[in-house]
């Protein structure tokens, strides 16, 4: 039950995009079209799960035994960059169809703060390995859900007339805020 709760909170109530506002750059810029947003979301989910799991192993099997926790940031960033690179090569080679739909986003994700954020949260909250996998996967799915929803909402923006001076990113930020209220509304359920 605890595991299910962890998954639920990471997807909905503690949504990485809407309650921590991490990974905002792609969230605002790549959410104009639903299919593109979904591609980005899938890529983030994949990279998040893989990097957080790898970083958990490195943290617990290498850094802690060696007493080198202070190298965490450096090592985590390098691991993320490497995994993204490898993932890109492998997907390009063996899954050309997938590569076409979201391969382009992989290099962008290297510098996405949500990815590093998840790795750091899992250390702060001292999750175990299974918990880390669930938590990172859930956060990825949450981010995917948020960006796809945003894509759907923004598609309907053509029917309304938001303040012109607000610009595209401005109205997106406001929508994100209202969405966040909605997501946090689920807190009672998990409570």
């Amino acid at each position: 039950m605890n595991m299910f709760l962890l998954l639920f909170t990471s997807v909905i109530t503690s949504n990485i995009a809407l309650s921590y506002f991490l990974g905002m750059c792609p969230f605002v810029t790549i959410s104009k079209k639903i299919d593109v947003a979904a591609g980005m979301g899938i890529a983030v989910t994949m990279v998040m799960t893989l990097t957080a799991s790898a970083n958990w192993l490195i943290q617990n099997l290498l850094l802690i035994p060696l007493g080198l926790e202070y190298l965490q940031f450096l090592v985590f960033i390098v691991t993320i960059a490497t995994i993204v690179q490898i993932l890109e090569i492998v997907i390009d080679r063996y899954f050309p169809v997938l590569y076409l739909s979201f391969g382009i986003f992989l290099p962008l994700i290297t510098v996405n703060c949500a990815i590093l954020g998840i790795s750091l949260f899992m250390v702060l909250r001292s999750y175990g390995f299974i918990e880390t996998v669930l938590y990172s996967f859930g956060s990825g799915v949450g981010w995917l859900l948020a960006i796809v929803t945003m894509g759907g909402l923004r598609r309907n923006l053509v029917f309304s007339k938001p303040l012109a001076n607000l610009g595209d990113p401005g109205i997106t930020a406001i929508i994100a805020g209202i969405m966040a209220l909605g997501f946090i509304g689920f807190t009672g359920v998990s409570g």
Binding site: L66, L68, V75, V78, I89, D92, L100
Partner: protein, 358 residues
């Protein structure tokens, strides 16, 4: 403690690097592939590398100004087989019509299997040349006139207005930078370029550092900015600063061939110090060759007697309405845009305006 951290981070980096090299060699290696060009020539290609780089390695020179970043769109070619679907990185540079015709951005497209493609005739004319610098004169504070003689019996044939790509040697893979030729195409053994020194520019810095006798490599000719000789309209040339180079080539060709067309030359610069080759044009203007020369300075000295202001406002005053002309513009984007709208308002249709923005 520090030693432990050093050992750890170094070995960590080493393992990561080895892992990536391994992945690149093994998984990113698609083995040798065959490219069939224009249905008659076959060349071997390295799978896993972009089509553009493979073509360069087989001595097919495809125009490319951005260095393979997918932003200039010059390197598009028709790929008839083996290209796969259009990548998102190509989308921006290809129109719907081009996509239907099978055009691909060769700097983004990786060779993964055998391919069939079409290279236009004019690109096949592009060759690699070895040259030696024979002239390197400063003509303004930051512009140098550089003459390059071709080695041996080599000759280059080009149209007035086209450009070459100078090879900039670097530590890794070589870079190329484009420069318009300012010489007359009749001269086939030697070309001339005008190079403005850009702070921290790798191309201009390199060329300015060379002196007479030094060798450099280049390829060319490239570009569809050249004088159209199949018409009898007036030629309206507009140059801003170092954008004079291709315009001068057009003018020299026009003078040498005695083309029976009026040539309007509008030449804009900041001050007298930035104006070069001014005397040559003033001389030609006096001789009633058909050249109408209008230099203009935006920040003139006190003894300047010519036009004052930006070049598009001078054109606004000088050109008559509904002039039967075609225009060749070379200069910074802001000048090109302003001049284009003046020309359109004077009745020159947009398909008769060619330009080189830099």
């Amino acid at each position: 403690m520090i030693l432990k951290a050093l050992i750890f981070s170094n070995s960590f980096a080493l393992i990561i690097a080895l892992l990536l090299i391994f992945m690149d060699r093994v998984i990113n290696n698609y083995g040798p592939c065959t490219l069939t060009i224009n249905d008659d020539k076959e060349v071997q290609a390295r799978g896993g590398t972009t089509l553009l780089r493979n073509l360069f390695e087989s001595k097919y020179f495809i125009p490319s100004a951005c260095g393979g970043k997918g932003t200039c769109g010059y390197c598009k070619l028709i790929v008839t087989e083996g290209g796969g679907a259009v990548l998102p990185t190509e989308e921006l540079m290809l129109s719907t019509v081009e996509k239907k015709a099978g055009y691909r951005l060769t700097c983004q497209l990786k060779v993964k299997n055998d391919m069939k493609l079409h290279i236009p005739e004019e690109y096949l004319n592009i060759q690699e040349y070895e040259g030696r610098i024979v002239v390197s004169d400063p003509v303004t504070l930051d512009i140098r006139r550089v003459g390059i003689a071709l080695s041996g019996e080599d000759e280059i044939s080009y149209k007035p207005g086209q450009y070459v790509q100078i090879k900039i040697p670097g530590s890794g893979e070589s870079d190329y930078r484009a420069y318009s030729m300012s010489s007359c195409p009749d001269e086939k053994k030697q070309i001339e370029i005008n190079v403005k020194l850009i702070p921290d520019g790798i191309g201009s810095g390199y060329i300015h550092s060379l002196s007479v006798g030094d060798e450099l490599d280049f390829s060319g000719p490239y570009g569809d900015f050249y004088l159209r000789e199949d018409s009898h309209r007036d030629i309206i040339c507009v140059a801003g600063g170092v954008g004079l180079a291709p315009i001068k080539s057009i003018l020299l060709h026009w003078d040498r061939q005695n083309l029976n067309r009026t040539l309007w030359l509008f030449y804009g610069a900041r001050s007298t110090e930035d104006l070069y080759d001014h005397e040559i044009f003033a001389e030609l203007d006096k001789k009633e060759t058909g050249l109408k020369y209008f230099p203009a300075l935006s920040e003139p000295d006190e003894d300047w007697t010519g036009k004052i202001g930006f070049i598009h406002s001078v054109m606004e005053q000088v050109l008559s309405q509904d002039i039967n002309g075609e225009a060749y513009l070379c200069g910074p984007p802001i000048m090109i845009d302003a001049v284009t709208s003046v020309l359109v308002s004077k009745g020159v249709s947009e398909e008769r305006i060619w330009y080189d923005k830099f």
